[in-house]
C-alpha cells in the first residue's frame, strides 16, 4: 500500500519546517540559469535573439556558456527587459560596480 507524499510530509514536518522547505525549494528552483530566467518570462529564444540583435544560435551558445563577457550578459538581460547590475560583496558590505 502506498501513501501520498504530501500527506506524509505534512504529518512529519512542523509548520516552521514546512516553510523552510518551501523556501529552500524556491531557492533551488530559482537558482536560475539565463535560460531559466528567459523561460520564466515566457520568452522564446527567437524573441530574445531578435531584441538582442543576435542569431538564435548565438543566443543558444550564450545560454549554455558558464563564463560571459559583461557586455554580452548586459545585452541578454536588456533583451529580457531587465537591467544588469554587478555587485561586489565584502562581508556585509555591498558595492555596486559602475564601470563593469
Amino acid at each position: 500500500m502506498t501513501r501520498n507524499w504530501r500527506s506524509l510530509k505534512d504529518s512529519k514536518l512542523s509548520p516552521d519546517a514546512l516553510a523552510r522547505v518551501r523556501a529552500r525549494v524556491r531557492a533551488e528552483l530559482e537558482e536560475l540559469t539565463l535560460k531559466g530566467l528567459r523561460q520564466g518570462l515566457s520568452l522564446t529564444q527567437v524573441e530574445v535573439s531578435r531584441t538582442a540583435s543576435m542569431t538564435q544560435s548565438e543566443l543558444s551558445r550564450v545560454e549554455s556558456r558558464n563564463d560571459h563577457l559583461t557586455s554580452t550578459l548586459r545585452r541578454y538581460i536588456e533583451a529580457l527587459g531587465g537591467e544588469l547590475e554587478v555587485t561586489a560583496v565584502f562581508g556585509g558590505r555591498r558595492v555596486k560596480i559602475t564601470d563593469a
Binding site: 501520498n4 504530501r6 506524509l8 512529519k12 514536518l13 522547505v21 533551488e28 544560435s57 556558456r65
Partner: protein, 233 residues
C-alpha cells in the same frame, strides 16, 4: 508537476529521521516533484549503487584516509555519470539527425567540440587516478558538462531537448547529510508519477539487498499501474 507516492518502507524510514535530515529529504523530493526527469545525471542517476567499496567503517587513524577516499570516489562517480550522459546525448537520434544537417563548417566545429569533450573526460580520469584530492571535487565533472553543453549548442540543441524521458528506477544522493543519504525512486514519465521506494544512509559497502528490494517494488508498482491503464477510467 509529478505525483509522488511513497512505499511503506520509505514512510517508516522518513518518519524516523531527525528533523534536519527530514527537511533535507523533503526539499529534495519537492524539487523532484517539479523537475521530474529534468534533474541532471549527478542528482538523479539511472545507475543504482550496488557496491560502495568504501563504507563508513572508520577505524583508528583511518578517518582522514577514508575521507580522501570518499572524495575521490565521489569525483569518479560524478565524472562517470557525466561520461554516460555524454554518450546518451551524442548517440540520441535528435543529436545525430541535427549533426547530419549542419553545414560543413558548423559540423567541423561540432566535431572539434566533441573531441574537446573526450579530452576533458580523459583529463578527468587521469586527474582522479593521479591526484584524487578533495580540493577540486566538482571540477572535472563540471568541465565535461560545460563541454557537452557547448557541443549541443553548436548543433543548435538545448539540453532540455535531450532530457532523458525514459521511465525506470533512479537514485538521488543527498551529499549535504552526514552520512550521505540516497533515495531510490521510480519514475513513470508518460503518467507523470513517481514512487519513492526507499531512503537509506550510505554507510555500508554493499547495497545489493536495497537494489533488489527497489527493483521488486518497482516491478509490483508498474504491473499494477499497467493493469489500471488497461482497465481505463
Amino acid at each position: 508537476m509529478y505525483d509522488i507516492t511513497v512505499t511503506p518502507e520509505f514512510e517508516k524510514w522518513f518518519e524516523a529521521l531527525e528533523p534536519n535530515a527530514a527537511e533535507q529529504v523533503a526539499t529534495a523530493l519537492e524539487v523532484l516533484e517539479s523537475a521530474g526527469p529534468a534533474l541532471d545525471p549527478v542528482k538523479a542517476s539511472r545507475y543504482l549503487l550496488w557496491y560502495d567499496g568504501v563504507g563508513e567503517q572508520a577505524g583508528n587513524g583511518w578517518t582522514e584516509r577514508l575521507i580522501k577516499l570518499h572524495h575521490t570516489a565521489e569525483m569518479a562517480r560524478q565524472l562517470t555519470l557525466w561520461q554516460k550522459e555524454v554518450v546518451r546525448c551524442l548517440e540520441s537520434p535528435a543529436f545525430t539527425s541535427r549533426l547530419t544537417r549542419l553545414d560543413r563548417g558548423a559540423a567541423h566545429r561540432a566535431l572539434i567540440a566533441i573531441e574537446r569533450v573526450k579530452k576533458r573526460i580523459h583529463a578527468g580520469k587521469v586527474h582522479i587516478n593521479l591526484v584524487g584530492d578533495a580540493g577540486s571535487l566538482p571540477t572535472d565533472a563540471v568541465s565535461v558538462k560545460r563541454a557537452l553543453f557547448e557541443v549541443l549548442a553548436l548543433a543548435g540543441l538545448d539540453p532540455d531537448d535531450l532530457v532523458d524521458s525514459s521511465s525506470g528506477l533512479r537514485e538521488m544522493t543527498l551529499e549535504e547529510l552526514n552520512p550521505r543519504v540516497r533515495l531510490i525512486y521510480g519514475i513513470e514519465v508518460p503518467t507523470r508519477r513517481i514512487l519513492v521506494i526507499l531512503g537509506e544512509p550510505l554507510s555500508r559497502a554493499f547495497y545489493g539487498d536495497s537494489v533488489r528490494l527497489a527493483e521488486r517494488k518497482w516491478r509490483e508498482y508498474t504491473s499494477v499501474t499497467i493493469a489500471d491503464q488497461r482497465q481505463g477510467p
